[in-house]
């Protein structure tokens, strides 16, 4: 297990470079991301097993996620708490080479398109997702649940969800509203135009950015509690995993989400509806909310998840979407990485070398690089 300390900054996101087998980028935020600066670290894993900092940039607000460019080996984007998205170049010190400011609230996720490679997507607490090209100063497309993408006269999408009360006094809430917060949006590794997203009102949503009405599938995934993370299976194009504050990781086959499970323009999903379709598999074990879930790039049945319970868990999903009656009972949790001493937020599988290597980061200011096959 190789450690690195991001001194003074609490880790939020970590990702292996798609170009160099020894390079990591880590998005961090001071003061646990509640208030203050952020810092993006570029780390090198040396041949002798130490991890050293190559460079880093400080930002005005905390950084909550990052995505390496798939077309430029020196570029990496970062999602900031002030609503901006920044593009950094490893050869340019001190300042980002691009800064996009369109989101009006915290950006919680950025993800590069693995197929098209020329664009990436961001997801924000302002309830929208935006697709960007690194060459363009403005976003290419905005995806949002409440928005009508067809015509001005028939607001199809907005009727799919009942609007909040029009009475002023009924709109005030003593609680912070995260219902519209999109925590994670990820491009499919199988299609250049398909995106999965999860939000604070427990929905998993599948989008096609080519379609005039991009929202394709929409269902309640975590019993009305917040859904925090989602990822595509790298081997099975219709299989996704989602994770949320109900402490579960759920595996879904998108072909099995029927129209009945989804809100419809003429029969909107009632506001009290918190029960969704049945997942293909459910992985239980985390003691607190699951913050991130990721499928292995080497094995279509393996995934890892990070949680506020300070652990990273390695799971085996034995569910067989082709024949559920053949499901083996020997899946489940295959290992627990308990090295972190605080919330674990970010993780990434290495694409390189022997399968199974993982990097994780969290609030204990630590980045650990470890082998998920050698956990006790």
């Amino acid at each position: 297990m190789l450690p690195f300390r991001t001194r003074g900054y609490n880790g939020y996101g970590v990702q292996y470079s798609p170009y160099f087998d020894n390079k990591l980028a880590v998005a961090t935020a001071a003061n646990y991301g509640l208030v203050g600066n952020g810092r993006l670290f570029i780390l090198n894993i040396e041949p002798n097993g130490t991890i050293v900092e190559q460079t880093s940039w400080e930002t005005q607000d905390g950084l909550f996620d990052l995505a390496w460019s798939e077309v430029h080996e020196n570029q990496v984007t970062a999602a900031s708490g002030d609503g901006s998205i920044k593009l950094f170049d490893l050869t340019v010190g001190q300042f980002p080479v691009m800064n996009w400011k369109e989101h009006t609230r915290e950006v919680f996720s950025v993800n590069w398109n693995l197929v098209d490679k020329t664009n990436f997507i961001s997801a924000s607490w302002d309830g929208s997702m935006k697709v960007w090209s690194p060459q363009r100063p403005d976003s290419l497309l905005t995806l949002s649940h409440a928005q009508d993408f067809t015509t001005k006269s028939s607001p199809v999408e907005s009727t799919a969800r009942p609007p909040l009360s029009h009475q002023q006094q009924h709109q005030q809430s003593q609680h912070v509203n995260t219902a519209n917060c999109i925590y994670n949006a990820t491009f499919s590794p199988h299609s250049p135009s398909t995106v999965v997203s999860v939000n604070g009102s427990s929905h998993v949503q599948i989008w096609d950015i080519r379609a005039p009405r991009p929202l394709q599938i929409d269902y309640v995934a975590h019993g009305g509690l917040e859904a925090l993370s989602c990822d595509w299976n790298k081997y099975k194009p219709t299989i996704i995993a989602s994770a949320g504050t109900d402490k579960s990781v759920r595996i879904w086959d998108l072909r099995m989400i029927t129209k009945i499970d989804q809100p419809h323009a003429h029969a909107p999903m009632p506001a009290y509806h918190i029960r969704g379709p049945t997942p293909l598999n459910e992985l239980l074990g985390h003691q607190f909310a699951v913050r991130k879930v990721q499928w292995s790039p080497h094995d279509g049945q393996e995934l890892i998840s990070t949680s506020y319970d300070m652990s990273v868990r390695v799971w085996r999903d034995e569910s067989n979407e082709r024949a559920r009656f053949l499901n083996m009972k020997n899946g489940g949790c295959k290992g627990v990485m308990g090295q972190h001493k605080e919330f674990v937020i970010g993780c990434d599988y290495s694409l390189w070398g022997e399968p199974g290597w993982v990097a994780s980061t969290g609030w204990d200011e630590m980045v650990y690089v470890w082998d998920s096959k050698r956990l006790q």
């Binding site: 009942p162 009360s165 504050t245 109900d246 506001a271």
Partner: protein
């Protein structure tokens, strides 16, 4: 600090936030009122039936709320003792009160939860989109209908069936079973009962019930000096059940009523009482469009089964069930109204669910106020809505004869 609150919401997830949201398709409570509760057999309602109570209360209710009666699409009324749960006379009562014949009527009987089942019935119809506005009520005259006539008719072939026998155990005996099984001392029961009397007495003398009671006119039959029966009219606006100066010591002197070695007696069991209660429910979009005030939001109701011989434990099962279904915990609930059929079963249920007693039956319960069987569920709504502050959660629950429990959750707005 939004980010901090967001994080704490993720760490201790609760459905509280989403239940507090106001959506146009919510079921909301526009108004809930009740009559005064009077003593069975000798109180001021002793000479009028449940139909009369319902009519008079509905008249007062319509006047007080100013609701457009043409909006009412269905009326559900809970009742236990009338023949056929009052299907005939309560339909008549609703028409007599001025609700048009275009509105439907359904008589409901799930024993002591009938009033709550009426609320659940109307709320579910609104949720399902069958109706937009309905009245849920409960009306009971124990003076007239309580007694040997309320015993069931059984086929002789089934009479000795042990399961059937369990459903025929008198309620007092089921409570003796509960206190024996869970070791609840007479001392504890009497303290609980005295506390209920004291809380209710304080509420009556401080005028806490003024807002929830609609005064109605009653007819009392009296004999004059020549032994002729004369009818006197009188306005009733005060509960008769609560009495002053009840202490655990004074209750300790009472003899057990159901078993020689028992602990249940007249002072720690619910009273035999007459009364009615009415709740007006609407879809939020309709209430807002028509400009009616919104008192609260109905969240969920659950009914569960328990062994008939210890039916008093019903709330101990129903409360966790409804909380789990709503995604809440006991600590999310600010006020509990659990029917005090008997001190023993109510105390057991509260303790089994870890309900703090200072949030339970704040204005006293059925031991002091009385338990008009089919009315109680709706009566609790009239009471709890006055005890909750804006944004607080309330829970009502009761045990049900023949072995059930019911519980419901609402939010004050």
């Amino acid at each position: 600090m939004d980010r901090l609150q967001q994080l704490s919401g993720q760490l201790s997830p609760s459905s509280k936030q989403s239940l507090l949201q106001k959506n146009p398709d919510d079921v909301v409570i526009v108004a809930a009122y009740r009559t005064a509760l009077t003593k069975g057999g000798r109180g001021k309602f002793k000479d009028v039936g449940s139909d009369y109570l319902l009519t008079e209360l509905l008249k007062g209710f319509i006047k007080k709320t100013g609701v457009d009666v043409n909006l009412i699409e269905d009326v559900a009324c809970g009742n236990v003792l009338n023949r056929a749960a009052g299907a005939f006379e309560h339909r008549g009562a609703s028409l007599a009160a001025g609700i048009p014949y275009t509105s439907g009527f359904i008589a409901l009987n799930r024993q002591c939860s009938s009033g709550l089942m009426a609320i659940s019935e109307i709320a579910n119809k609104i949720k399902a989109g069958e109706i937009d506005c309905g009245i849920a009520a409960g009306s009971e005259s124990m003076s007239i209908n309580y007694g040997p006539n309320s015993l069931p008719n059984l086929t002789p072939a089934l009479q000795d069936n042990p399961e059937m026998q369990k459903c025929l155990i008198p309620m007092g005996i089921t409570n003796e079973n509960v206190v024996k099984k869970y070791n609840i001392s007479r001392q504890k029961q009497d303290e609980f009962a005295a506390n209920s009397y004291n809380k209710a007495e304080r509420a009556v003398s401080s005028g806490a019930f003024k807002d929830e009671i609609i005064p109605i006119e009653t007819i009392i039959a009296e004999e004059d000096d020549d032994d002729n029966i004369v009818y006197r009219k009188e306005i009733v606006d005060t509960d008769e059940g609560p009495r002053k100066g009840v202490t655990a010591q004074s209750l300790a002197k009472l003899k057990p009523a159901f078993a020689a070695d028992g602990t249940t007696h007249a002072g720690n069991a619910s009273q035999i009482t007459d009364g009615a209660a009415v709740v007006l429910l609407m879809r939020r979009s309709l209430a807002e469009a028509k400009g009616y005030p919104i008192e609260g939001k109905f969240v969920l109701c659950s009914a569960v089964g328990v062994p008939p011989e210890i039916m008093g434990v019903g709330p101990a099962v129903a409360i966790p069930t409804v909380l789990k279904k709503a995604g809440l915990t006991v600590s999310d609930i600010d006020v509990f109204e659990i029917n005090e059929a008997f001190a023993g079963q109510c105390l057991y249920s509260a303790e089994a669910c870890n309900i703090p007693l200072d949030r339970l039956n704040i204005n006293g319960g059925a031991i002091a106020l009385g338990h008009p069987l089919g009315t109680t569920g709706a009566r609790q709504y009239a009471t709890i809505l006055r005890l909750l502050k804006k944004g607080e959660f309330g829970l009502t629950s009761m045990c049900i004869g023949t072995g059930m429990g019911a519980a419901s959750i609402l939010v004050k707005e």
